[in-house]
Amino acid sequence: MTITLNSKIPAGSINDKWNTYKEDAKLVAPGNKRKFKVIVVGSGLAGASAAATMAELGYQVDVFTFHDSPRRAHSIAAQGGINAAKNYQGDGDSVHRLFYDTIKGGDFRSREANVHRLAEVSVNIIDQMVAQGVPFAREYGGMLDNRSFGGAQVSRTFYARGQTGQQLLLGAYQQLARQIGLGNVRMFNRTELVDVVTIEGRCAGIVTRDLVNGEVVSHSAHAVVMATGGYGNVFYLSTNAMACNVTAAWRAHRKGAAFANPCYTQIHPTCIPQSDPTQSKLTLMSESLRNDGRVWVPQNPDETRSASQVPEAERDYILERLYPSYGNLAPRDISSRAAKRSVDSGRGVGPLKNGVYLDFSDAINRLGKDVVEERYGNLFQMYERIAGENPYDMPMRIYPATHYTMGGLWVDYELMTNIPGLYAAGEANFSDHGANRLGASALMQGLADGYFVLPYTIGNYLAPMLNKPIPGTDHPAFKEAEMAAQTRYQGYVDIKGTRSPDYFHREVGRIIWDYCGMERTQQGLEKALSELPALYEEFQKDLRVTGDAESMNQTLEKAGRVDDFFQLGMLMCRDALERDESCGGHFRAEYQTEEGEAMRDDEKFAHVAAWEWTGDPTKSIRHKEELNFEAIHLATRSYK
C-alpha cells in the first residue's frame, strides 16, 4: 500500500475556508444519525467532547478508555489555562492575532487552514464551557479574568486557579456522563485498544483488551476517532501521567495511518528537577508562573551562597537579558534551551546543580504575598510537597522536561487520517502546533477538535454510507486481529527473561533523551539508531512479565506499551535525522545562528514529514505534505 496525502484544504480566502466547508459538507438527517455507530477511543478533552457532542446529535457512540473512569484522562493535569481570542481585555487580540501567534510559535511548520479554524472556534469553547458550569477565574466585577502565556503579547488565557485542565475535563466528562446516563453512549472503562481493523481500505473498527480479565474483543463501527493523547512517555521521565502511551496511535500507524513529524516534541521549561534515581515522573510547574517569576542563575559557577544572599549584580536574569521584549515569557523551546545552556555551563543551582531559579521575591514585594498566593497558591503547595522547600522564602528550582508531543497521526483538514473512516483528535494528531506548541493551546485544540470540528466533518464521511451494510465483527479481518493481539500479549508472558518492562522503558528513555531530546546532532541520532535496535532485540529476548494474560496484570500492560515505544523511538530518531534544519522543538545543533537560535531551512523543509510503516521500524518511508503559506509570510522567529 502506498500513501496519498490529500490535505483537503477548502478553497477560498483563509477567513472563509471553514464557513465554506461547513456550508458544503454533506449532512446526515437527524433521524438517520442513530443508524451510525461511531467509536471514540479516549475520554480526555478531545474524546469526551467529541463523544458527548456526537451523542447529542444522535449518533450511537461507544467510548473506550484504559482508565477506571473517563474523568481520569491526562487532560486533568493541565494547570495553566486555555487560550481564546475573546479580546475581553481590549488589548488588541483577534482571531487573526491568535492565528498568527500559533503559526509563528510553531515556527512556520503547521498548516495555515487548520490553525485559522482553531483560532476561529476558540471563542465558542469558552462560551460552551461557561454554559456547562466551568468555574473560570473571575474579576471582582464578575467578568472573566485572563492571564498571559509564553509567545503572546496579549492576555488571552482563561484559567481556573492552577487546575484549568481539571475543570475543563470535568466539564466535558459531565457532558459525557449525561449522555451515558441517557443511554446514548456506551462507556467501556479499563479497556485498552490493542489494534485497529481495516477492511477494503476503510477503518472497520477496533480490537480491545479488557484490562481486568484480559479478554480480547472486536468492535465494528462506521467510523473510529482516536483521541488517545500524546507519546511524551517515550522519554520515560516526562510530565505525562504514568499510563500515557503511544499504543493506540502506533497500532493505527501499523495498519497504514501515516505518522507525522514524530521528532517534534516539546520540552517544557518549568519542571521540578530530578532529585533521585528512583524517580518515576517529573512534575510540571505551570508556565503561568513565568508571569510573575523571574528566571536567573548566579553569574559565578562556583556560587555557594543561598539564593537570597546573591546580590542583584551577580545574578544573570537569562531570559530578560537575551529576549528583552518577551523576557520571562519567551516561548517554551527558547526558554528551555536557555536553561539548558546555563546548566551546561556549570551555573546550575540546587544540590545536583541541575536547575535554574524561578524567583518570586520581586512579585511578593510588589503585589504582596496574598496576591501571589491567590494566583499560584496550589502550585506553591505542590512544589513544597515535592521539593521540600517553601517557594515564598526561597526561589523555586526548575529545569526543562518533556511535556507535549506535537507530532502524531497525520490528519487532513477534516481530522481524518489517510485511512478513510479513521480520525484523530487532540494531542494524538499532528495538526495545529507545527514544530512547537504555545502554552494554553493544547486544551484549546482538544476541545476545538471534539466540540466544534469533528461533529461537522464526520457527517461528511458518514452521509454517503447511509443504509449500506458495514462489516461485522465476524469478518475474518477482525478474527485475525484478535488472534494477533492474543498472541502478542501471551508472547510477552512467554519470554520469561530476566528484566522488567520498566527496566527497558528507562533504557529507551535514556537513549531518546540523550540523543533526541532538547538538542540533537547527526552523530548522536546515528548512535541512537544503532543502540535502539540492539536494545529492542534484548527486550524481545529478555523481558520478564510475571503472572498471566487472563487477569489484571499491570506488568503485561506495560510490556505492550514499552514495545510500541521502542518502535516509535526509532522512527523519532529517523525523523530527526532526516530533518536537516532546526525548527521549534526540533533543535539540531548543526543548524543554529551565531547567537545559538534555531535556523530553519524553508527551501528544503517547509513540509510535513509523514511516515509510512513498512514492517521494519528502521525502514519506514518518508512522505511529504508541502506547506503553503498564503496568509502569513514566512519569517525568522524573533522574540528579542
Binding site: 458527548a52 477506571d68 473512569s69 475581553y88 461557561v130 475543570q167 499510563a243 518515576s280 521540600g388
Partner: protein, 258 residues
Amino acid sequence: MSNHLKNLKLKIWRQSGPTDKGHFEDHIMPEISDEASFLEMLDVLNEGLIGENKLPVVFDHDCREGICGTCSLMINGQAHGPERSTATCQLHMRKFKSGDEIVIEPWRASAFPIIKDLMVDRSAFDRIIESGGFISANTGGAPDANLIPIPKSVADAAMDSAQCIGCGACVAACPNGAANLFTAAKIAHLNLLPQGQAERFKRTEAMVETMDEYFGSCTNHGECEAACPKEISIDVIALMNKDYRKSKFKNRKEISRS
C-alpha cells in the same frame, strides 16, 4: 541532601480477585531515599518482586500529581496516609522514619469492590454523576461567556467544591461508607452557579437518590473532611441536605402541576 530510610516493614494487602478472601503479606524495604514518593517506594518493591519471579502488588495510580484521583491507598489506617490534604501519590517518604511499620490496604467500602490487591472499582461514583452531576447545555448555541457576570466570591466558592478529584477517600474513611462529601461537592459546585439553577432541584434529588442506592448513610462523623486531599468542606453536605429537602417539596409541586 537526600537521606535514606532503612528497614521499613511493609504489611500489604494481597487479594487475587473479587472473590478471594485476601491476606496481609509482609515485606522488608531495606533502604529508600526520603526524596522518593510513597508510590515510588512501591515501584521499587515491585521491581524487586518481578526480580524474584513473583507477582507485583497491583495498585491504581496515574498522574502522580494529586489531580487525577486514581491513587487510593489506606496507609496505617488513614485514607491517603498521614499528611493532611495530600493524595497518596503526593506523599513522600520523608514523612516516615527508619524501622517504621507501614500497613497498606485498599479502600474498604461495600460500594467499592476490590478488583485485585489494592485496586478497587469506584464506578459507583460515575453513576452518581450520570444521574445529574451536569448542566444540560448541548454543544453550540451557548451565549457569550461574559453575558452573565458571576461574582468572584460565587465563582470561588463553586471552584472550592469543584476541586474534588473523585478519589473516594471520603468513602473509605467513613465508618458507614457514605459518599455524601463527594456527592455534595458536585451539587454545591453546580447549584452555586447561575448556570446551574435551572436543574438545581432535579439534579439534587436524582444525585442523592442514586447515592443512596450504592452507598451507606451519613451520620455526621466528619472523617470524610479530614481524609479529603482537596479539603472539601463538610459544609457542602448541609447545602446538599437543604436543597434535597427543598427538592422534595418543589418536585412534588411540579409533578402535581403536570
